[in-house]
């Protein structure tokens, strides 16, 4: 038997709308506890014996075996690997130019943008007479502390030359000392992208080529 609570007296000035559910009758059988307990256990045991019989006779699929083929599967990780999303930000890599040198021009944009300050670059000038001298510099050292990195991808966004990328598809590996997380330039350049590429598809205009936009005081007539 139910009635509207707003009609019910004694709820106070704010009449809350709701349904009053009456408490179940406590008969002598319920209060004695043992009969109800055995009734409940009886239902449990009925299902237990029924299910056991059906599994034994093969009348219904085994839920344990079924769970190994469908539903949430455990991934046996070192042997099985789950594919990472396409835009997963993994280990950094330094892309190459066509001649194998790094595309990085040591502008320090990435190390400035890095919130964890895990990138350290020492820029250096190209030697006298080099085509690129005066236009750009190169990283004498390029060090990333993979332990400090928070994989935010700001360095990739900040890079104006498409020189640093995080599309290796490798998660950072754990080590047992901090020194092993310091990744130097040569190692970062040895990583490939997902397709095994080290040269990006973005065109790079070298100084001296007709497409190169830059000029400086000495060379403006090419």
């Amino acid at each position: 038997m139910t009635q509207q609570a707003s009609d019910y007296q004694g709820l106070g000035p704010q009449k809350v709308r709701g349904v009053v559910v009456r408490r179940p009758n406590r008969t002598a059988g319920v209060q004695a506890y043992i009969p109800e307990l055995s009734k409940g256990l009886g239902i449990t045991m009925k299902h237990f014996f029924k299910n056991t019989k059906e599994y034994m006779l093969g009348q219904r699929p085994d839920p344990v075996l079924e769970s190994t083929t469908d539903g949430v599967n455990t991934i046996s990780y070192p042997e099985q690997r789950r594919p990472y999303p396409e835009r997963f930000r993994g280990m950094h890599r330094l892309t190459h130019r066509d001649d194998g040198s790094p595309r990085c021009v040591a502008c320090l944009c990435c190390s400035t943008a890095c919130p964890a300050q895990c990138i350290h670059i020492e820029p250096a000038e190209y030697p006298e007479g080099d085509e690129r001298r005066g236009y750009e510099r190169y990283p004498a050292t390029f060090v990333i502390d993979e332990l400090r990195c928070v994989f935010c991808g700001f360095c990739v966004e900040a890079c104006p030359c498409d020189a640093i990328r995080m599309d290796t598809g490798i998660h950072a590996a754990p080590y047992d000392s901090r020194e092993q997380f310091i990744y130097e330039k040569d190692l970062l350049m040895s990583f490939c992208g997902r397709e095994g590429d080290q040269v990006t598809e973005n065109a790079r205009h070298e100084p001296g080529e007709s497409t190169h936009p830059g000029v400086d005081r000495e060379r403006h007539g090419h």
Binding site: P83, E86, T168, H171, Y175, R194
Partner: protein, 195 residues
């Protein structure tokens, strides 16, 4: 002084003699037992805890390596997972918990914050738990992938089996420094792509 040295020498000779093989085998057996029964104490303070739950959940089942049983008393646990940022106020607590653990005990720094402070370059954050307690394995990432966590656990198990606490002797099983072949090249959805 000389006598003490001689005694040590004798012990070594006995150890390498008839009992050597048995002693080595027992040590290896002990290490094998230890690495497959790491009772963990999760010291979870920050968002890395979500990823820690993901590792312990059925998808990346941590119990496949025998490391799933959490003991919420440091005295019963072998492995201290420090998961998350440790502030200066928490540092004494962490140190006390580490000291309460009974040896043999190991510590894993889970995530960037626990390992080195991450981008919290400020006066409240401890720049890495190895300033307080000795740390066996560092897992990078913010937070780390469950795969990286399992890599870290496997590295710790390899370390336990080797019996050495020195760093840089045992390398992770998939080390990008030596082999980069484990990159996930094909990206496909579906179940058969997992194999």
């Amino acid at each position: 002084m000389g006598e003490v040295k001689a005694t040590t020498q004798t012990t070594l000779e006995v150890g390498e003699g008839a009992g050597g093989f048995a002693t080595t085998q027992v040590t290896a057996l002990t290490h094998w037992a230890q690495k497959y029964s790491l009772f963990m104490y999760p010291f979870v303070t920050a968002c890395c805890g979500m990823e820690f739950m993901s590792v312990t959940s059925p998808r990346y089942d941590l119990s496949r390596f025998g490391a799933e049983a959490p003991r919420f008393s440091p005295r019963q646990s072998d492995l201290l997972w420090v998961v998350g940022t440790i502030s200066q106020r928490q540092a004494p607590v962490l140190k006390r918990i580490y000291e309460q653990m009974a040896p043999p005990k190991w510590v894993i720094a889970f995530g960037t914050c626990a390992s080195c402070g991450g981008f919290y370059d400020n006066y409240t954050t401890v720049a890495g738990i190895d300033k307080i307690v000795p740390c066996d394995v560092y897992i990078p990432g913010c937070p780390p992938r469950p795969e990286a966590v399992l890599d870290g656990l496997l590295l710790l198990m390899d370390k336990i089996q080797s019996g050495s606490k020195d760093p840089a002797i045992v390398k992770p099983r998939t080390d990008p420094v030596t082999s980069q072949s484990h990159g996930l090249i094909k990206l496909r959805r579906g179940r058969d792509s997992m194999v």
